[in-house]
Symmetry: C2
Subunit: 454 residues, 2 copies
């Protein structure tokens, strides 16, 4: 007999984990909706023609491909086989699993361009799949929760993302977080000002590692990549930004980067965003302007966001930014948008580590009814009905077992109350209510029971 296993990099979620995950999903969904984002869902499978070429060569490798149904091998020649896996793939697989939510969203917008009213605010909470080498905290199937606005370049959208992030993490009880913000145009301006115009990509890849490898190694990497000593000297101010207020940091940047129109544009955008956030009345802002923040840059063209929870060594829990060409690859150029993605798995880890889940998140059933014999069921069943009618999650132990076994069941399911019904209870109508947390047991009438449990 086979012993079943799970595919590498995939997970089951049991009841306790699921309840906590649902708490995160529900919280984020509610905030997305409160901010006017509308739900969509796209299929798990997309045509490979939709997915390929959107995530770079490495991304293409990491796509899960689905074998064509039916006699897929029929048209394959020995020559095809000899040409290797890469060339063989398109002949036997025309579909792949979603790699992120952004490309399917772009595809959706293009296919529905005639019926969508712009600006279009959508959210999407679905799993994605990547054939990455599994390791701690990295899975082959994981959820993304994305909210994007497309069809407007209004900075109000950036401000709304800042607000939404604050609302989300506060509702998740993650009070202590930092929202780092930067702007692609500031990075471009830095490259300009130090004398390496257009090199912000290379520059960003190196300074992105500042936290991990330190300043000296960042400079070494830049040297290797052809940055002159002169440019590196000019880069010095970048390493001097401390924990100033956002407006102070923007002032410092204005001084340093005054020679670059692009940088000034980026700084103005961030200023306007901060002003809108202030007008809204955000209290206790966690915004920090970080001119080293890059986040893989490749498609961000304006604001860049990243959220880290403080006090835990877990990477970023949320990130996003503005892009100017979401749908270009599908023949619909010039559609600007800005979005944010919440990483449910990492948020889960943060909340677990900091013990932030509400105490009752793990609870499902509120009360278990335990009849000692068949006769007791005639009392137990109407009570069960009454409890559920009052919206109390209730169940009845289905078998006639030893009391200890039934109480163990309640404990295993984290059920806080048990109602015991034996012959005495049937005769008197007085019920025994046991508090499973304190161990106390009370005699109560049905009415008293309902009052306590409602």
């Amino acid at each position: 007999m086979q012993k079943p296993t799970l595919p590498k990099g995939t997970r089951d979620f049991g009841p306790e984990q699921m309840r906590k995950r649902l708490f995160i999903f529900d919280t984020i969904r509610q905030i997305f909706q409160q901010f006017g984002f509308q739900p969509i869902e796209t299929p798990s499978m997309e045509n490979l023609s939709t997915l390929t070429g959107k995530y770079g060569d490495e991304g293409d490798q990491l796509l899960f491909k689905i074998l064509n149904s039916g006699d897929f091998a029929a048209g394959i020649t020995e020559l095809d086989l000899a040409s290797g896996s890469k060339k063989l793939t398109p002949k036997i697989a025309e579909k792949g699993l979603r790699y992120d939510l952004t490309v399917p969203f772009a595809r959706y917008v293009v296919m529905n361009r005639n019926s969508l009213t712009l600006p279009f605010k959508r959210y999407q909470m679905q799993p994605v799949w990547r054939a990455d080498r599994p390791q701690k905290g990295r899975y082959r199937e994981f959820y993304q929760c994305d909210a994007d606005v497309v069809g407007t370049d209004s900075l109000l959208c950036e401000a709304e993302i800042v607000l939404m992030i604050h609302e989300a993490f506060r509702n998740l009880a993650i009070q202590n977080f930092t929202l780092k913000v930067n702007n692609r145009k500031i990075l471009a301006g830095i490259a300009e000002v130090i004398g390496a115009p257009g090199q912000e990509g290379t520059l960003s890849v190196a300074i992105d590692k500042l936290d991990k490898i330190g300043k000296e190694k960042v400079l070494d990497e830049l040297r290797e990549r052809g940055f002159s000593e002169e440019t590196l000297v000019s880069l010095e101010p970048l390493f001097l930004f401390g924990s100033a207020t956002p407006y102070q940091t923007l002032d410092q940047l204005k001084n340093w980067l005054s020679a670059s129109d692009t940088a000034r544009q980026g700084i103005t955008e961030l200023e306007e965003m901060l002003l809108l956030v202030d007008q809204y009345g955000l209290s206790d802002s966690r915004v920090e302007i970080d001119p080293t923040l890059a986040r893989g840059l490749s498609y961000y063209t304006g604001a860049i966001f990243e959220v880290k929870a403080n006090g835990v060594s877990i990477g970023s829990v949320s990130g996003g930014g503005r892009y100017d060409n979401l749908t270009g690859a599908f023949g619909m150029p010039g559609l600007s948008g800005v979005g944010i993605s919440f990483g449910v798995d990492r948020i889960y880890d943060v909340m677990e580590e900091l013990n932030l889940f509400p105490a009752d998140t793990g609870q499902g059933t509120h009360v278990l009814i335990v009849p000692f014999d068949k006769e007791a069921r005639s009392v137990a069943l109407p009570l069960l009905n009454q409890l559920r009618t009052a919206a109390v999650a209730a169940e009845m132990y289905p078998d006639l077992s030893k009391v200890k076994k039934m109480l163990d069941y309640a404990n295993a399911k984290n059920i806080p109350f048990v109602v015991l019904i034996g012959s005495e209870e049937v005769q008197t109508g007085i019920l025994s209510l046991k508090n499973m947390v304190t161990g106390e047991q009370f005699k109560v009438t049905t009415e008293e029971l309902m009052d306590r449990l409602r």
Copy 2:
């Protein structure tokens, strides 16, 4: 430039559809939880060794297989290629997509046998994939919503399923439905009594078509499959069951099938189930005992359930039953369970056809704030904050556009209220509130606005 398309048999769900689908999911989830079922989720991918051989030959064909990552073709010889797709598949694909929620659940139970407390009540709401030929109402990706109890043969579980079905369809506003119930043992007893013992499988396949092809053709099919004229004459009573009460139908069955111990056992089980439902106090029961109900029978061993919505020509919207050997294929025999599955896509179709979705299901944002110029934003933004703090879903139009365009946006998003803010409103502090349904417009203070929208 490529024009993107969707893979055959898959669908996007836009905002309106999604809201309605979420209404169904939330309603069913809430009822599952109220009845003490706990959520689990399993990965979309399973090892093909877990899935293969569980759904019959046809099912194996309909599994979506995932091409192995990396250089999958490396070990493939020309001989492998020549041996055909079926033999080639296991060499290049070791994983497949979930085909239903039952087999992954069985795998989960076996893998967690040491930590699970039995009886285990779980629910699971996830998509499944089948490489079926797409046609109206049949998709290659669709959701299943299953609830099962395993580890007990108590008939209370059957009664709870009957109750849960009533609760679910009533909360979905599908008042007019029929819950057909049968028992595998009654079908076995019928086969016995007519002189074709053990033939209940063949018998069921034929009588399952009674609704569609009528009695004469059912008899023809049975003749073809080797049933003698004598057995068919004995089968006559089966076609005489009318719209009696459940207890009357069980009495008729008792008379007809008195010679079969198995049948009597099945009848007793259904009687006990009905008794428990009565003790609970279910009002307006929609239960109908239907001795012709079979539902693919293959793994049901006791009760069989099927729900049809009346007044629409949509197939069954829910079905399930008891099985005695969920986990046998994974080396854990003798685990009895009973479960029910809700078909979200069909429930959606029923509710759409009968216009049963609550009027506000399609609504997301409750109020759109429309500032006419930049200055108006200084009034609009604190108001937005105030509305959201009061849990009103609110958004602000991000661009400074023509009023008509902004009102069109509200209409397209089904937003019932718009707050217009121009220079007059900024000066006086009195706001203009427009009801988008009636077209009426009012002058209100912020306080009055909050009162109306809260």
